[in-house]
């Protein structure tokens, strides 16, 4: 009963504290990445409903409170997500140009960690990192033929170490942590 009340309280608090779901123009890497995707692919990101966002955060927070395994995201409040669904991602044979644009835009404050491209299937993954005091900000851009996700999250150095060791799997896991609402 207590747990239910705690989760309900968290959801309410997050509903009140969460800003507008749309991407705000902070001019940082997250917004820049979203803008570049929109401009290059002529697509629009979708705002995640406020309730869903609050639900995701509450689940993550509850898992941490219980000492569960879901500790990859160091600070649930810092997770930022932009989703592109049911849209057409066609790089028109210019996938390297997209990669270069993203790199040029993010180069000032973000360091590229891993980039994988498979043009035939329009699959791309970009993982960028930057310092955040004693932790790290991770920016993960995932693009497929009909959907894309941009996730920015804060992770502890231990998680960054695992991300470096196995970038593919850990990048996927972090994106899932940030986007899947199993509430």
């Amino acid at each position: 009963m207590k747990i239910k009340i705690t989760i309900a309280g968290l959801v309410t608090a997050l509903l009140l504290s969460a800003g507008p779901a749309s991407v705000q123009a902070h001019g940082d890497g997250f917004n820049d990445a979203v803008k570049i995707i929109e401009q290059f692919y002529h697509v629009k990101h979708q705002a995640i409903p406020l309730l869903a966002r609050a639900g995701m955060k509450a689940v993550g927070t509850a898992a941490r409170m219980k000492g569960g395994d879901d500790k990859r995201l160091a600070d649930a409040g810092s997770v930022r997500v932009a989703v592109f669904e049911d849209q057409n991602f066609d790089s028109r044979g210019q996938i390297a140009s997209f990669k270069a644009s993203l790199q040029t835009t993010l180069a000032e404050t973000w360091s590229p960690l891993v980039q994988t491209l498979a043009p035939k299937n329009e699959e791309q993954t970009y993982i960028y990192v930057r310092d955040a005091a004693d932790k790290f900000h991770v920016l993960i851009v995932t693009i497929e033929r009909h959907e894309a996700t941009v996730v920015q999250a804060t992770v502890a150095p231990e998680i960054l170490a695992q991300l470096m060791k196995d970038p593919g799997e850990m990048g996927k896991a972090l994106t899932e942590d940030a986007t899947i609402n199993d509430n």
């Binding site: 390297a96 990669k99 891993v114 994988t116 150095p157 960054l160 170490a161 470096m164 060791k165």
Partner: protein
């Protein structure tokens, strides 16, 4: 005239690599190779992997490989200042040229680099070369070039690394499985 412009435009990436290659050769004498010029291959490749683990990241995270399973990794990463990988896989043969290969090879002709291993398949279609960067008797870097008809991979590790350590890193940190067997290798 129109054709001349069209042909020049088509050759632009090659010219860029050639021009860049000269500058790179003159500049890159240290253990860190310049490999960003290969990015043009991404448009033709069916799969591209680009990994950059720089000194700051390596230093920050090194202490977090402390588990039992990580003992080998921790040892292999000791003193490593960077891991850089570019790998391009193509659907057809002939999608990359000697120009791209030479843009990396030319840097390895510097006085501090020496080839320690060449592995060639019987048909000659696969060629793996391993180079070490030495300053005095200290290893300061390693480079692996794996050239196959449909795949071109460059691995550059900065820091004290040898083949044994390299084998411990294969399959992790973006380093592909290179399949270099020390007993089958030959020194230059």
């Amino acid at each position: 005239m129109k054709n001349l412009f069209q042909n020049t435009w088509k050759l632009a990436p090659v010219l860029l690599i050639l021009l860049g290659g000269g500058a790179i050769t003159a500049w890159a004498q240290g253990p860190r190779l310049q490999i960003d010029q290969l990015d043009v291959l991404a448009n033709k490749a069916s799969e591209t992997v680009d990994v950059k683990l720089d000194e700051r990241l390596m230093a920050t995270t090194a202490k977090f490989f402390s588990g039992k399973d990580d003992a080998d990794i921790k040892e292999a990463l000791k003193g490593i200042k960077g891991i850089y990988v570019k790998s391009f896989t193509f659907e057809k043969e002939g999608e990359f040229s000697q120009v791209e290969v030479d843009s990396v090879m030319s840097q390895l002709r510097g006085s501090t680099w020496s080839k320690i291993v060449t592995v060639k398949s019987k048909k000659g279609s696969e060629n793996v070369e391993v180079y070490l960067n030495m300053v005095g008797d200290q290893i300061t870097g390693l480079a692996v070039l794996s050239i196959e008809p449909k795949q071109f991979t460059v691995v550059n590790i900065v820091g004290p690394i040898d083949l044994e350590k390299l084998s411990k890193l294969e399959g992790q940190f973006g380093v592909p499985d290179l399949g270099i067997e020390q007993d089958k290798t030959k020194k230059k």
